[in-house]
């Protein structure tokens, strides 16, 4: 790693970290604060990057821990902003649009109500396209455990889809 810079090495991780933080905190402003702290911490530790196997996995790990701290500190279960947005949208759109949005928001609501670890694993696998090995590294658990949690999450969603 000859040339490193905040702009080209650390900043591009922002959106991916934001989605993870948003999935955990369920609050856009708090998720951005978490990402800011995470990026600064990763940048401050640049002298030790050679000792880190996978910088992105490390950044995900820092981000998750910070997001969990924030959620614990706030001690609340915040509704997703998108769910709130969708609830508001049902009042001023056409019936078909309302049904479509309502249905989408229900999937989202179901995903948001999964336990944090299942939500995080779904985010990393289905949205960020990470391998089971990388997810296991981020969460410091085995690949088998990752698959078990993911299976539980997908099964709940499948059952909900079949029953509605």
């Amino acid at each position: 790693m000859d040339n490193i810079s905040f702009r080209t090495t650390v900043l591009p991780l922002g959106d991916r970290l934001f989605r993870l933080a948003f999935r955990i905190t369920m609050n856009r402003a708090e998720a951005e604060d978490v990402v800011q702290d995470t990026l600064l911490k990763v940048w401050e530790q640049r002298s030790q990057w050679e000792q880190i196997d996978n910088l992105e996995a490390y950044a995900f790990q820092v981000c998750r821990n910070r997001a969990l701290d924030v959620t614990k500190r706030m001690g609340r279960n915040i509704k997703s902003l998108d769910v709130v947005d969708n609830e508001q949208l049902t009042t001023d759109n056409g019936l078909q649009s309302i049904e479509a949005r309502e249905q989408l928001s229900l999937v989202r609501r179901l995903m948001d109500n999964l336990p944090e670890i299942q939500r995080t694993i779904m985010e990393l696998r289905d949205i960020e396209g990470r391998t089971y090995q990388e997810i296991a590294q981020v969460l410091s658990i085995s690949e088998t455990q990752v698959k078990v949690y993911l299976h539980r999450a997908r099964t709940k969603i499948k059952e909900w889809i079949i029953n509605t």
Binding site: I4, F6, E32, L104, H151, I161
Partner: protein, 167 residues
């Protein structure tokens, strides 16, 4: 159209047996409008996940971060240019280089100090020795008598030979 392959993939997806490539095939399939009725209920999950993948930080976030990092750089006394720096691999021997230099400097100082001390000590000792030798030599020339007596008296009393003047 036969959707058996997609149905099989979907079954494997629920069981967490699909690869990332197979999951990408499922996503691409469910993005299209013409999804058969039997698979339509599952479409909402993949569409929602697509939406979630398009969530981004606010537009001014990058600028805020860059200004924060620039501030940090300026606080460090401008050692970095903006938010850019060059990483360099430092070997173990290279890390020890300052210690080698310090050890070398100490060795040079000790050598110089020792040399100065030696030369100062010699300056004090040599005149005394020279004075002693000169005195003995001159007394040897001045002493009167047989050579045996002279050598005996010089050996016995090398310094107090002034007595011989009185003879």
């Amino acid at each position: 159209m036969d959707y058996k392959y997609i149905e099989q993939l979907l079954e494997r997806y629920w069981e967490c047996q699909t690869t990332l490539e197979e999951e990408a095939i499922l996503r691409t399939f469910f993005r299209q409008e013409n999804v058969p009725a039997s698979l339509l209920p599952y479409r909402q999950l993949f569409i929602e996940e697509d939406k979630m993948a398009n969530e981004h930080l606010s537009e001014d976030f990058a600028n805020r971060m860059l200004s924060l990092v620039d501030e940090e750089a300026s606080l460090l006394g401008g050692r970095m240019e903006g938010s850019f720096c060059k990483a360099r691999r430092v070997t173990f021997m290279r890390r020890l280089r300052p210690f080698y230099r310090a050890a070398g400097l100490v060795a040079i100082l000790l050598t110089i100090g020792n040399a100065a001390y030696q030369s100062f000590s010699e300056e004090n000792i040599v005149p005394q020795q020279m004075a002693k030798c000169t005195c003995e030599d001159s007394l040897q020339h001045i002493t009167i008598g047989s050579p045996e007596q002279q050598s005996a008296s010089l050996t016995a009393q090398p310094v107090d030979t002034l007595d011989s003047f009185s003879r």
